[in-house]
Symmetry: C2
Subunit: 267 residues, 2 copies
């Protein structure tokens, strides 16, 4: 899975990354479904352990263009985990009160505590993406945010957080298909938002903003993964795999049991 | 007032600072009371303007040893301001939920929004003071926090906050007098806490921890002031003066009025 990781201080040209990539997998969807099911079970086991140990904090950041598959990834990767220890934080258009504060204010509130997994569905990265593309603040303001973000995430990591960041990368063509599907399918029409077309028209500007974010904020302590996301089954596999492998490497243990439990008699 | 400011990257030896200092003032208490009263009025005016302009954010950090006068400074300096735009955030012993998160988590929640003044009564600095002296986390953990704090405060400043940090500096002898007074005065006994004596016994360790914090975290964007605090009237004057002068330098303006207000007739 390491081929999807962005090394620190590496300029990224998304034109060199293939959103259709399936990692040379030949098995196709059926095999992928089987493999994902195994990963779901392993994640369920690891999350329970994480919760019991009450030591590590896991932050998963999901970013993508519209229709990129953030919601669907959350549903498929975290299927089966105990909601008691897993939380999704959605960052939508900021409220007036949020805009009165620094952009990390609403984000910091939602970071995971010990034993917790938190998934950011969008994140502080919007403050160097849509905010930049839409000129919501001047360049001298957003230009300083890459450093802020790196230092913020470093602090979180040094205080015990494990951070994984995924950019679900679809192509402009794939987005067209998915938007069209939303229009055609009566059950998906509720998801269609005409404003998405305005964002779509800014695709090249968004890709430049993503390239900058990926180049400047993939660090040892909070790496970015560029996930080929035109094929949903491969996207899910990549994200699930990286999360599971990362949790496995934490070498977690159940807390030591109290002494003399064997001698206890429950009357 | 600049003689009380700690320049950036300057090693601090508190033995060289005099907690009895009154800035050569001869007038004494009566004159000081008159001057403080003027400063109170000016602060009241400036705070209203700050609130109306809704642009700047003011963060005032107060740190001191027990009996150092944090509560009393707040009462005397902020007398008369509108509570609508001024808030005090107290940081006491962290709750279990707070301890599950990084130490800046509970602090970031409380930072000021636009138009607001927030006073931190104790702060994130406790995480390199009591936490260090009491060995609540290992040195390799608290040792990284000076950088975190500088970067955190830098982000706040670059996102529009003005930060002022005051160490109310009393002597060991003065603390003895004040603790004794709490024991002797029936109206002050409620403030006496036997645990304070344990902290008092660690005075030299606390002074070393304060020296490190003052040396490492006084920055252009978030300066520390060492306030001689054996004389309460001088302490209040120094703090009030620095806050008022800082607000004056912000060059605040009332928002522009809507057009044609002169032509409006209210029926």
């Amino acid at each position: 899975m390491e081929q999807h990781r962005v090394p620190p201080d590496t300029p990224i040209d998304l034109g060199q990354w293939d959103p259709n990539d399936t990692g040379g997998s030949q098995g196709g969807k059926a095999e992928a479904r089987e493999r994902l099911s195994q990963l779901n079970k392993e994640l369920e086991r690891l999350q329970e352990l994480l919760y019991a140990e009450h030591k590590h904090k896991i932050l998963v950041v999901l970013q993508a263009m519209d229709t990129g598959g953030k919601d669907s990834t959350i549903r498929h990767v975290f299927e089966g985990v105990n909601p008691q220890g897993v939380r999704v934080a959605n960052f939508k258009v900021p409220t007036p009160k949020e805009l009165d504060h620094d952009y990390l204010w609403r984000v910091h509130k939602e970071v995971p505590g010990k034993g917790e997994i938190v998934i950011f569905n969008r994140s502080h990265y919007e403050d160097v993406l849509v905010v930049r593309v839409r000129n919501l603040v001047p360049p001298k303001v957003w230009g300083k945010r890459y450093d802020h973000i790196n230092e913020f995430e470093k602090m979180l990591a040094e205080e015990g957080a494990t951070i994984l960041k995924f950019f679900l990368y679809i192509s402009l063509d794939e987005q067209k298909k998915r938007l069209q599907k939303r229009l055609d399918d009566p059950c998906k029409r509720w998801k269609f938002n005409a404003a998405d077309l305005k964002e779509r028209a800014l695709w090249p500007e968004y890709m430049r903003a993503y390239e900058d974010a990926l180049s400047k904020t993939s660090t040892e302590w909070a790496p970015w993964y560029i996930v080929p996301a035109n094929h949903k089954w491969y996207r899910n596999l990549v994200v699930a795999n990286i999360i599971v492998e990362t949790l496995q490497r934490l070498d977690m243990r159940y807390p030591e049991e109290a002494e003399n439990l064997d001698n206890i008699v429950i009357a």
